[in-house]
Symmetry: C2
């Protein structure tokens, strides 16, 4: 008996296969598309399933709408002892497997909070889940051994298990993942609507704010409708906040009401700033723990490489790099995101090494 | 007579001074805070104004609420021939200078679409405006010579002038700049509200989507209330879209209405994806012109430097770098954003040089 049968060799399924193989486990791979099995196998994620072999754990990693049927089929052929999936919405799958009269004791849903802009087995990585949260959502019927088996899988993949009720999970991702996607799409959608003056006057903020809207509409329609209740609830709350803000902005134009309205606008923005401080920028840490060091550099690739080499030699770990490219001119600016307590040391060290670091220039800042 | 008197030595005023000095112009600097004048002068942005000298052009770069009064004072002392400012909302300043009975023929408002996360004269850069749009907003009373003088300033700073009516400008930035800020703040604000499960289950998308919310609430309250009408109008449109989506999500749960509702959810997301394709990711270009090449690397600063050196040697210009840091493990993944037609060449070239580039591995992707 194999350790794990992975059904669905996309980004997530293949990445799990790679992580398990790295830990020495015996992995079988299946997909409706044979070329994806071949790619995943060539990448080292496991061996093709021969359609009769069974496994200790069956992991279903297919699009949301197909998950329950795959779990049902796998149980019907008695392919595993424990069954899990990696769907971004949990309650719907729980209801569906119940309706299909699956054996609920051996099923424990889960959801790794990982992913990247690309998809498919070629984009997979054994390290995709390292340091990431991974929700594990037992139902009231789940057997303890089944929960243990899924927790062991999560830990083998290097993720941090978060055991949570399916409903709490779904409310949480509605706010932290589905709402951001919807707001990004709503904003980007406005750019298609008249009267518009195009994007001639857009600045760099619009790029970040619309990035999520690039995601696959068909997949996201599945995700949003699968979590329709909690997402609608978050939307109604945001609609209330934005309606109140629109009203306050209107009132800010009326002499008698202006001061109170401005205070409410300020309170809205302050709440946003407080919320932002709670966002983990580096996995598991908060944004207030990081600072940017801006360096003005010649805009040639070699300069960026040299800059990062110097940062490394100064013993500073660069968490993120943001490049402000200036076409047609030989300069640009680079932001290095580092731990707050390393920022001054990095700025001064780079300045000493001859880099143009505005914030290290004098006492004025 | 000096070429330009800069009133307000913040990020924008000092950056303009630096750009003008680089072009050989004679620049005078003023600020209510003498330490900012000293910093700007030390950076090479010009010389401290002696309070009587005048200039061909007076540029007011102070917070929005103080702009009209500064223009009025400068005209009262006959300090310049032409007067401009760099305020992010134009109509309000136009009304204010009219109400103050300023000489309207010599005033032409303007607004550079530039900026960075840091502020103050230390963060200034002569290249801040290069390749960026810079709105120039004459009023019906503006003299042609005054418009020419401001256009010349914009071009000296390396920006692309966009001559536009103040009202059109304000409607445009309401959509492209103020709305993204408000949506980011609304999203981040939800993180402070019960019932919440914290951010334990957040993924990387939340980081981008809440970045703008970190901006200074006091400054943004000034900006939003100065552009209250157009921002409220954009908000009402987004509120209508989000309310409809919430309703469609509700209807997707009802057997009879589900299919039509799902179609509308899909249409909403598709519109967002289309809008995203119109966003200029690199200055002056559209996001569809770029692609990411993901490379799995050892998570040491020296590896990132070596990677960028190799990209440079392959003759590929890296437009942006995104680092996915994996704490506690010696690997991470790096996305290099490059021109679409260079992506395959980069992926294959890096792969040949021994880098782990998933998308160059096989025909499956």
């Amino acid at each position: 008996m194999a350790d794990v049968l992975v059904v669905g060799c996309g980004l997530i399924g293949t990445s799990i296969g790679l992580a398990l193989r790295q830990a020495g486990q015996d992995v079988l791979l299946h997909d409706t598309d044979p070329s994806r099995i071949a790619t995943a196998a060539r990448r080292g994620a496991g061996k093709a399933w021969n359609s009769t072999q069974n496994a200790s754990l069956v992991l279903v990693a297919v699009p949301p709408a197909a998950v329950a049927a795959q779990l049902y089929e796998a149980q019907r052929h008695d392919l595993g002892r424990t069954y899990t999936h990696v769907t971004s919405v949990q309650s719907e799958v729980q209801s569906e497997v119940e309706a299909l009269s699956c054996d609920l004791s051996s099923i424990v849903g889960s959801h790794p909070l990982a992913g990247r802009e690309t998809s498919g087995p070629d984009a997979a990585s054994a390290d995709l889940f390292v340091g990431r949260p991974w929700a594990v959502c037992p139902s009231p019927s789940s057997a303890d051994e089944a929960v243990e088996a899924v927790l062991a899988l999560v830990e083998t993949c290097g993720a941090t298990p978060v055991v949570v009720d399916a409903g709490v999970h779904d409310a949480s991702v509605a706010r932290l993942s589905h709402l951001p996607h919807v707001l990004s799409a709503a904003l980007a959608g406005r750019l298609t609507v008249a009267p518009g003056q195009g994007t001639d006057l857009s600045g760099p903020g619009l790029v970040d704010a619309t990035r999520l809207a690039a995601g696959d509409p068909a997949l996201w329609a599945q995700i949003l409708t699968a979590n329709a209740g909690p997402v609608a609830q978050e939307l109604r709350a945001v609609v209330a906040d934005l309606s109140a803000l629109a009203e306050d902005l209107g009132a800010s134009l009326e002499p008698g009401a202006a001061d109170a309205a401005r205070e409410r606008v300020l309170a809205f923005l302050t709440r946003g700033q407080q919320g932002r401080a709670q966002v983990p920028v580096k996995r598991g840490e908060r944004s207030a723990a990081f600072a940017s060091v801006v360096v003005e550099v010649d805009d040639r690739p070699g300069r960026l490489a040299a800059l990062l080499t110097d940062a490394g030699e100064l013993g500073v770990n660069v968490e993120d790099v943001r490049v402000e490219h200036v076409p047609g001119r030989p300069r640009g600016s680079i932001s290095l995101v580092v731990a707050l307590d390393a920022a001054t040391r990095l700025a001064e060290g780079l300045s000493t090494r001859g880099w143009d670091v505005p914030q290290a220039r004098g006492p004025g800042q």
